[in-house]
């Protein structure tokens, strides 16, 4: 057996070990992610079926509301396809955000009993969101083919936007999860944000045909990511707006940095107040 590490605990100074510890506990990160994914698909009777049914129903509804009732412009792209390609990043964000947001409280039994860098908990919850997205993503491509839209080289850029959406969700999730430990109100605030979000985010409509609203809409960090998804999946007929992309990256970074700052600041008290 190897000599164990020497640990020094000094009041108010845990910084030094933190990032080293995070690396040391990377296996735990993997195990927790694996647990979340496994449990999620084990408990539901329909299993992966939900990951298909949910976006299909939402696509039909949003197509009806925005495409048929509101008659929003769709350019050259079939409306259902437009909605589906917008729903993918939105679902990714929503599931990562609510997963990370509730992660500390749902793992409180771990937090009050063992030590590990707490950041692992919200990080591991992102895995479920990614796995959840893979199934509808795999369905989107044949769906698009039916409408005569075939994947191009642009699809290879998609991981960049997946990562982008995850970063934004993670930053926002860090805030929510740390706040939830302290104020249980935030358990209700997170779903509220998602309910509003689906309407102020261009999930059911496209922005490049709405010059008047484009600037305001691009204030939403997700707008850039959704445009990115559509640009990757739907091929020609979609433009990337630099403004939205820059906003997305900037807001995403800001959320993660401030989120980390707040999370780290309150982390040392989690075990005492959870």
């Amino acid at each position: 057996m190897n000599e164990g590490p020497e640990i020094t605990i000094v009041a108010g100074r845990s910084e030094a070990h933190y990032w080293r510890d995070l690396w040391r506990y990377r296996e735990l990160l993997g195990f927790l992610a694996w647990r979340d994914v496994k449990v999620r698909y084990k408990q539901a009777v329909l299993g992966a079926g939900w990951a298909v049914i949910q976006p299909l129903v939402q696509t039909m509804l949003l197509t009806f509301v925005f495409g048929k009732l509101a008659k929003m412009p769709n350019g050259t792209i079939p409306y259902p396809l437009l909605v589906l390609a917008g729903l993918l990043p939105w679902q990714l964000f929503a599931s990562a955000f609510s997963g990370a947001g509730g992660s500390l409280v749902s793992n409180s039994n771990l937090i009050s009993k063992v030590y590990f860098p707490r950041l692992i908990v919200p990080l591991s919850s992102l895995a479920v969101a990614v796995v959840d997205m893979m199934i509808p993503l795999a369905l989107t491509l044949p769906f698009a083919a039916v409408y005569g839209v075939f994947p191009t080289w642009r699809l290879l850029v998609l991981p960049v936007f997946i990562l982008g959406a995850l970063v934004i969700a993670f930053g926002a999730g860090l805030w929510i999860t740390a706040l939830t430990v302290q104020y249980r109100d935030f358990r209700f605030i997170a779903p509220f944000i998602l309910q509003i979000g689906i309407f102020i985010t261009p999930v059911g409509f496209r922005t490049d045909n709405l010059p008047r609203w484009q600037t305001i809409l691009s204030l939403n960090p997700l707008t850039g990511m959704i445009q990115g998804f559509r640009w990757c999946i739907l091929g020609g007929g979609m433009e990337l707006s630099e403004q939205s992309l820059l906003m997305s990256c900037g807001a995403g970074l800001l959320l993660v940095i401030t989120g980390l700052w707040y999370f780290r600041g309150t982390e040392r008290r989690f075990a005492d107040i959870i």
Binding site: G4, A11, G30, R35, K42, K113, V114, Y183
Partner: protein, 421 residues
């Protein structure tokens, strides 16, 4: 000299209590607003905060391979100390140096997920306890064998019996091989067999040269397993040194540590354990009478009575003496100070330390003045035996001897082995 496995310098831990915790945003907003109004009103506006020092300026060190006991009453800071050492919570002041991997038997089963199979949970739990994946894989078969769950290893643990569940959880923890082991018997689940297993694991670990911190209310276990002890009292390190001295100090303190409060109608002013001759005594042999002499001040309430509860040192109630309930007895209905002596026939208690919790009660409305941990005594059972029976320590066979009689035997007529009428 070898450098210590654990060294703790001026360790303090403060908790904020009561009014400062605002769990909902509304509370917090209301609190802030009140503070603001107060400040505007010029009344200083210092917000009421109640501090509680769970640990205050604690210093000690543990040599590698040492088995150190930690004793103290509930709330003395034992659990807080362990939590800080296992890095669950941070100290408010002070420095701690720890050499080696720390694991504690209070983590048994942490992170077990009911939906996952035994196999999955071993890996998950191992990772949570800080075991690298290779190490878990290497020890996997040993863990499964130790837990005796081979057949069910691919069954979700929600279908396990509670015994299997505990065994599996314990098996993982027992294969941790940390350099420093923390055993918190106080928090361990009440299952006696399980506690026994903890103790077994502990002496095994100490034989292989590990450093152990042992927290227990079981004075006998502390006495037999440790040579040095920390005695914590209200967050302070009251004593650190030889186990015998620490235990002596602890039990003496328990005896004199009376609750200062009083009852609304009847108050126990003083209480002592005495023998038949009226002399104070720290021991009662089994099967004899125990006498509790107390001074009680009553306001003359006609429903007032007294009760005594026999407890072991962890505070578990073992028996009740209630003259009010059993015999309709009451304190005199005339206000005044009385000396009341309880005469209690003791069972043959398993050798060890016990206590009486005393209280005055009002019939039908429960305790009036409650004195816990006040009276501690030792007892021995020597039923037809020169040496005391070590009922609990050696046989794990309960708290008292049931009956000293012998069975009666009557022959059944008829040829041996032939039971036909």
């Amino acid at each position: 000299m070898e450098s210590p496995a654990i060294s703790v310098e001026s360790l303090s831990k403060r908790y904020m209590l009561g009014h400062v915790r605002h769990d909902t945003l509304r509370d917090q907003l209301a609190h802030r607003t009140r503070g603001l109004l107060k400040a505007l009103g010029g009344r200083g506006g210092s917000l009421a905060t109640e501090e509680f020092w769970a640990l205050r300026d604690v210093n000690f060190s543990v040599a590698p391979g040492e088995v150190l006991g930690v004793i103290g009453r509930n709330g003395a800071g034992k659990s807080t100390l362990l939590k800080i050492l296992s890095r669950i919570t941070e100290p408010t002041h002070g420095t701690i140096r720890i050499r080696g991997r720390v694991s504690s038997l209070l983590e048994v089963g942490t992170g077990f997920h009911p939906e996952l199979t035994g196999r999955d949970n071993i890996f998950l739990n191992g990772a949570i306890l800080g075991m690298p994946r290779d190490e878990i894989r290497r020890k996997f078969d040993a863990i499964v064998a130790f837990a005796e769950v081979e057949q069910f290893i691919d069954t979700p643990v929600k279908r396990y019996s509670s015994g299997m569940y505990i065994r599996l959880a314990f098996a993982v923890a027992a294969h941790m091989e940390p350099e420093i082991l923390i055993v918190d018997e106080v928090l361990a689940v009440g299952d006696a067999a399980f506690q026994q297993k903890c103790l077994g694991k502990m002496s095994e670990a100490s034989r292989s040269g590990r450093t152990i911190l042992f927290v227990s209310h079981n004075i006998n276990a502390v006495r037999s397993l440790t040579t040095r002890c920390l005695y914590l009292k209200r967050g302070h390190l009251e004593f650190a040194g030889p186990t015998a001295e620490a235990i002596d100090l602890y039990t003496r303190n328990l005896r004199s540590d009376r609750t200062a409060s009083s009852g609304q109608h009847a108050t126990i002013v003083r209480a002592a354990l005495v023998d038949a001759a009226g002399m104070e005594t720290p021991t009662f042999p089994g099967g004899d009478h125990a006498f509790v002499r107390m001074m009680v001040e009553t306001d003359g309430n006609p429903l007032a009575s007294v009760e005594a509860t026999l407890t072991d040192l962890s505070g578990t109630a073992l028996g009740l003496y209630s003259p009010g309930h059993f015999s309709g007895w009451r304190l005199p209905a005339k206000p005044g100070l009385y000396e009341v002596t309880l005469k209690i026939r003791m069972p043959h208690l398993a050798t060890g330390n016990y206590g009486f919790d005393l209280c005055t009660t009002l019939h039908g409305s429960g305790p009036d003045h409650y004195l816990a941990d006040g009276l501690v005594f030792a007892s021995e059972s020597r039923v037809n035996h020169p040496a005391p029976w070590e009922l609990r320590k050696e046989y794990n066979a309960g708290h008292f001897v049931l009956d000293e009689g012998v069975p009666s035997v009557t022959p059944i007529p008829g040829p041996a082995g032939d039971h036909t009428p």
